[in-house]
């Protein structure tokens, strides 16, 4: 009989299952970087040869550059604005008892699960009614609608876990509420707030539906990719572009997750 190794001994079967799970999850994505370095035009095995030409190929494209900068501009505006709007909202939800709070919060989170298509159509209809000309600004508005619930869901657990006696201590030491917010609440929660900025930036940067419905003559990066799919000889270059975007998104998301954790341990500050 095998020796009993304790209730919390490592479970190998489960570990292998988890590894397979992760592998299958990322298998399709894995093909993108692999074929972006393949010298053949078509995505098929066997691989032909290693090349960086598809990456070099990206450099000269003016429309791509324009689309990239459009996306960066939108993402920067969206991330900062939605974080600035979400911080007081999340604080209020975390702090105060109000009637109907739970349903209200669920309602705020609804855009997370609503199909982007529906949101896009709805916003397009609304903006048309109001006579707003479609532009990068309307895309920004659309992205904010998507990003605000994300921002709140990132910030809320941090504000709930925030030790309120730190703010009480500040008030007790003579600081009025706004100064307390500035000197204690913000600096103590900056990892979570930064995580929120990075998360919303990534979401806006990769978003397609809203951009598709709400953009004017200028296009965003995901729209550019979609437009180029018509040209088969361009496909490897798109894979190269996608690889770069993947890398960028991964770095942002990973940093944002790390920041959330850092904040949570730093925050205990008082007791073990």
């Amino acid at each position: 009989m095998a020796r009993y190794t304790g209730f919390h001994a490592p479970n190998h079967t489960l570990a292998i299952y988890a590894a397979v799970f992760a592998f299958v999850l990322y298998l399709p994505i894995l093909f993108i970087p692999i074929f972006s370095f393949n010298s053949g035009v078509y995505v098929k095995f066997p691989l032909e040869g290693f090349t960086l030409q598809w990456y070099v190929n990206l450099l000269g494209r003016e429309p791509l550059k324009a689309a990239f900068w459009n996306s960066v501009k939108i993402a920067a505006a969206v991330s900062v604005l939605s974080t600035v709007i979400a911080v007081p909202a999340a604080l209020a939800i975390a702090r105060y008892r109000m009637p109907g709070k739970a349903p209200a919060v669920s309602f705020m989170m609804l855009p997370l699960v609503l199909p982007g298509l529906i949101m896009g159509v709805a916003l397009l209809g609304l903006l048309n009614r109001m006579g707003v000309t479609l532009s990068l600004v309307t895309v920004t508005i659309g992205h904010m609608v998507i990003c605000l619930p994300y921002a709140i869901s990132v910030l809320l657990p941090r504000f709930i876990g925030f030790n309120r006696s730190l703010e009480e201590a500040s008030a007790d030491l003579g600081e009025p509420p706004l100064r307390t917010f500035w000197r204690v609440t913000l600096p103590c929660n900056y990892p979570g707030i930064l995580a929120c900025v990075l998360m919303t930036f990534t979401i806006s940067f990769d978003e397609y539906f809203m951009a598709f419905f709400l953009s004017g003559p200028k296009s965003t990066l995901p729209m550019y990719i979609w437009g180029q799919l018509r040209f088969p000889q361009d496909f490897p270059s798109l894979l190269a572009l996608s690889t770069l975007i993947l890398l960028f998104s991964f770095v942002l998301i990973f940093t944002s997750l790390r920041l959330s954790k850092v904040g949570q341990t730093a925050q205990t500050g008082a007791l073990k």
Partner: protein, 360 residues
Amino acid sequence: MISVRKVSKSFGRVQAVQDVSLEIRAGEFFSLLGASGSGKTTLLRMIAGFEAVTAGQILIEGQEMQDLPPHLRPINMVFQNYAIFPHLNVHDNIAYGLQRLRLPKVDQARMVDEMLEMIALSGYGMRKASQLSGGQMQRVALARALILKPKVLLLDEPLGALDKQLREQMQLELRGLQKQLGITFILVTHDQEEALTLSDRVAVMANGWVIQVDTPAGLYDHPKNRQVAGFVGTMNFFDAVVSVHGQDRVADVAGLGRQMLNGQAGPHGNCAKVLVAIRPESLVLSSTEPGPGKPSVPGKVEARQYLGGRQILHVAVEGRATPVAVSTFAHRGEDSWAGSEGRPVWLTWGPEAINVIDPD
């Protein structure tokens, strides 16, 4: 100095503090003692301004405070979990409240250094909060509050998170500091030993009411009722009936027989039901029958609690369900009560041992 006048606080239907009035003198070390849920912390938080009063007034040096927010009250507080700012180092934590005063940097630094010296943490200024031990955080929290020279310092279970040895050391330091500075301290604690050690006066709270306000010795020797007597130290309670025979007032005490009551306060009517309370250290135990003259009852040792310097013997006596606790000193070298379980003994006591208190 501080007047709490008919202060009440309710959270919805729960009455947390009920009609509390206290007069706390300048320079006094005052404690609010009670079990959890007794309202002591709520009362402290109302004094600090973190909770609004439902009714009543709080005055400091004659000025009404109950409608001011915490940052405008001349009060500073040491929080239960210290609430050291995790994003600041020790120096900046202590200097936090000075920024508002717009003092020159040099003066600020000098004041912080003085504080660090006072709490015996000189040279720790650049440390992060996470690098401090519990006792050190406690001292930083104290320094951060005291640097503003408050009229009143509030302490919310400040020693609760420390281990026993450190707690006792900090108690002595706290007491010394308070005497040295002359600032009024108001301490909230559930630890009766702590309250007795530190305080000039103690208010015992239960269910939102203040039951008794007295000096530690007053509380210990003359508890007002069963709650106070049971909360402060160990106490044996006996049911008794008081009766008057001519000039004498006597009590028939369950388990101890008839006792003369001379001079004790308490009800004077015939057949009044009372409670007789006797401290374990007021009883004397002997293994042989004592002579007449002193009251005594026979009993049998049921259990022994050895506590080092002293020990508590639980003695069963006739006419009483629970054994009587008797405290005796354990002398070095001769442990006469070792293995005494089951031994017949006699309990004796002097007339001053008997406290007559209200049965409720």
